[in-house]
Amino acid sequence: MTTTPAAPERESDDYLPAAVKETRADRIVLICNYTALGLFSLAVLYPLVYVLSAAFSEPRNVQSGEVWLWPVGLSLESFRSIFDYDGIVRGFGNSVVYAIGGALLATALTLLAAYPLSRRDLPGKGLILGLFLFTMMFNGGLIPNYLVVDRTGLLDTRWAMILPTAMAVWNVIITRTYFQTTIPEELAESARVDGCSDIGFFWRVVLPLSKPIIAVNLLFYAVAQWNSWFNALIYLTSEHLFPLQLVLRQILVQSNVDPSQVRDVAELLRMKELQEQLKFSLIVIATIPPLLVYPFVQKHFVKGAMVGSLQG
């Protein structure tokens, strides 16, 4: 192995010694790659810009279809009216708590489960893995889940949002695969020979080497928690515990009444105005935190980071 220290992240291309000249074919590949990425980004960018523009436009102009790219009749009205609903502000705070708490707990459980399952020499590993996989395919259904949350005394507490979804087998499997491919079995063997315990090895060697997958786990769990509303709907009955997505959904479903259901028109109108005002600004509000978090995750996707640590 070379002794090159692992650069945190290289500004330009990575492994290319200056002396080696790029071939013509390589340059074509690069250009195609940049173009493809750029075109795809543009395709994705459009809905993002649209949502932003709609949020900052007069609701009336959105309704009439005038907004198609840039804001029409710039207005902050819809953001101002968000703050008239204290449920939204409080929901935002709750969601942050659930997302952070849920992500930390779930990631911890996932790592604890994934590492032993990634060890080839663990007796009974197949059986335990089977136990995990089985729950991916089969579940008891809504009512028994509710009964369990009720019996464990979690109903209508913040824990009801975090504990029942604290681990996703899907993530355990992915994390286990990551360990299997990146932590050489021999490393664990030699550590054992050196008198390092399994837990010590996990703590001092595996975790530092697994920053990317830890970051991915934190992100996935936080995002799943951030986007979820169904558990809140089923397990919570105190308004001050509701997460943001449940409040947002409330606005959508309440304003999206089935017109064939005969309702008082005054009520229909009230709902309609509510939805028009808030629909897009709420998405903006709900999307900002995950976007802010992403760079911190991205930071860990550094090529060659692994090898550097192995040497250190």
């Binding site: 309704q63 809504l142 464990t152 089923i234 009955t237 017109p259 064939s260 005969v262």
Partner: protein
């Protein structure tokens, strides 16, 4: 009475037991969440108090002549000692946090009864799921308020002794409800389960315009003037008007949509049949059940339906019905209605103007004023009927469970809310309404009774209960709202156009299929059959109307009838027939 505190402790106890040996998993009966110390059922004192007598009527209130409806009386507290009930309610953004709502506090002060609210978020179907989970877990409140139990659910849970038959209590302690039942005998009939018990304290809302809402259709009268034609009276004249719209192209650049059909959000229901079909046969809209001389039948298997499809097909073929009549979304309809250079819509079906465009009540020249209700059309055979909902207005409001020790107090609490002043405070917010002055004009054109301050902007004040509570909104009450001549709302034209253009053609009540209650097994069968049948009906309608099939072709029409039979139209109608007969008693 504080069951919440008690169950909290018990839950912790069960948790320990459960974690120790997972034994709690095997105890999932109704009462597993309750300890033995928690008595269940009404206590004997519930019926001990003497019957309630209504307080004296307050004077100086400008009731219009011959007024039938809720009245204001002198009220006293229901209890003198603090009394508390646990009530499950749906969350509502305009109510806000029920515990902090302004009317909640107002009512508590006046009745002496404190409510501990448990709030369920989500759409109606979410609430149903959550309520069922609560019941399954034995996590039962004293009452549910504003949860839209179906009639079948009320019957099922009532018959299983989970919901309390309120008759003994309302007979004795609910004079306002008795008055409502006398004013509207139908309200009592709708509240009564097939076993003769009343498991619900209902609301009744005699909403006149709602009765025509399912098929009400709007026509652009400005365009009508522009093409120089009168309001169409027959299907042929209707076609002529649409042709003229298309030819004149008032929206410009060929964007005019003479007659627009669309799809409703979240369902596969479409709107094209709702109005036009009533020129060929009585079409009550989904699930299209009608009663023909005491026999329940489905409109979509009748010859009139076939004729209606043929007519719609010709409209589509001529380009008078929009090409995307079966896939246009409600959002697209709004865009067409609110289009910047003027609306694109000639005729659309919708409950009210807001179904297709913004309703600006402040602006007297707003475009919704151009649209007027289109009266039912006369078909080639001289048939004409208005789809009129005789049974609308009933809502299950307060359901008391067997967990409640004092149903009498909750019934009195509900009856308290039917008082005119209390009802107005719950509906508009305490202090946000006032009695009208002598000489103020109402929607009906007569003396007004009350007026509401403020507009229908989204309610940010969190001081109403958004009609989730017991209400008695009689026809006279609804129509005696003051109309501000400087700011006319849409209630008045909506009422007048419904009265003049639909009421005269209304279908007789004997032909309408009423809201019925089904028993467990029947409800299961009913659900899958009606889902499969309505899927077949709308798919075939779409194919026939858009020219992918031809209803005039005997083979294709018989194939369609064959498919309906194969799905199970016969057993489906048998279920409905039995339920209908049970409803009629």
């Amino acid at each position: 009475m504080q069951p919440a505190v008690r169950t909290g402790r018990i839950r912790r106890r069960t948790f320990v037991a459960g974690a120790a040996g997972l034994t709690a998993a095997t105890t999932s009966g109704l009462l597993s969440g309750c300890g033995p110390d928690e008595a269940v059922g009404a206590s004997p004192e519930s019926l001990a108090a003497p019957p309630a007598t209504p307080g004296p009527k307050l004077g100086g209130i400008p009731y219009p002549d011959g007024y039938v409806g809720p009245v204001a009386r002198k009220l006293g507290p229901i209890v003198t000692e603090p009394t508390k009930f646990v009530v499950v309610v749906p969350q509502d953004l305009t109510v806000g946090d029920w515990a902090k709502n302004k009317f909640t506090k107002w009512l508590e002060q006046r009745t002496g009864i404190t409510i501990e609210f448990r709030q369920i978020a989500g759409a109606d179907e979410d609430v149903t799921i959550k309520v069922n989970a609560m019941i399954a877990a034995g996590d039962i409140p004293d009452a549910f308020m504003g949860v839209n139990f179906s009639k079948s659910q009320l019957y099922l849970y009532g018959a299983q002794n989970l919901f309390v038959d309120q008759t003994p209590y309302t007979d004795k302690y609910a004079p306002n409800l008795q008055q409502m039942f006398r004013d509207y005998p139908l309200a009592k009939k709708l509240a009564t389960s097939p076993d003769g018990n009343v498991y619900v304290y209902p609301s009744f809302n005699d909403c006149y315009h709602c009765r025509a809402g399912k098929s009400r259709t709007w026509i652009n009268t400005r365009w009508l003037k522009q093409v120089g034609l009168a309001m169409p009276k027959t299907t042929d004249e209707f076609r002529e008007v649409l042709r003229a719209f298309k030819k004149a192209d008032p929206a410009g650049r060929g964007r005019t949509l003479p007659f627009v059909g669309y799809k409703e959000d979240g369902t596969n229901q479409v709107t094209v049949d709702k109005f036009v079909m009533n020129a060929f046969l009585y079409n009550p809209t989904s699930p299209w059940l009608v009663v023909d001389g005491g026999k329940v039948n489905a409109a979509y298997s009748q010859d009139g339906w076939r004729e209606g499809l043929k007519y719609l097909r010709t409209l589509y073929a001529e380009g008078l019905l929009n090409r995307d009549a079966f896939s246009m979304t409600a959002e697209q309809l709004q865009r067409a209605g609110n289009n910047k250079d003027g609306p694109l819509l000639g005729v659309f079906q919708g409950n009210y103007w807001g179904s297709a465009m913004d309703v600006d009540v402040e602006d007297p020249t707003a475009r919704w004023h151009d649209y007027e209700a289109l009266p039912p059309l006369e078909g080639p055979d001289g048939f004409r009927v208005a789809n009129w909902d005789h049974y609308t207005g009933f809502d299950p409001r307060l359901v008391i469970t067997r967990k409640c020790r004092r149903p009498d107090l909750l019934v009195r609490w509900a009856d308290f809310q039917l008082d005119l002043e209390v009802m107005m405070a719950a509906y508009a917010g305490p202090g946000s309404w006032s009695f009208a002055k002598r000489g103020d004009k109402a929607i009906s054109g007569k003396q007004a009774l009350f007026g509401i301050s403020g507009t229908w902007a989204p309610d940010k004040t969190k001081d109403t209960w958004a009609q989730r509570n017991p209400n008695y909104r009689s026809g006279d009450f609804r129509l005696s709202e003051r109309v501000d001549p400087t700011k006319p709302t849409f209630e008045k034209p909506l009422y007048e156009q419904t009265r003049d253009r639909y009421f005269p053609y209304r279908v007789p009540i004997e032909q309408q299929f009423p809201p019925v209650a089904l028993e467990g097994d029947q409800a299961a069968l009913d659900a899958s059959l009606s889902l499969d049948l309505s899927g077949e009906v709308v798919q075939t309608m779409a194919r026939f109307v858009t020219g992918k099939g031809d209803p005039a072709d005997d083979g294709q029409w018989n194939d369609y009838l064959g498919r309906l039979d194969k799905i199970g139209l016969r057993p489906y109608l048998d279920i409905q027939q039995a339920a209908y007969e049970s409803f009629q008693g």
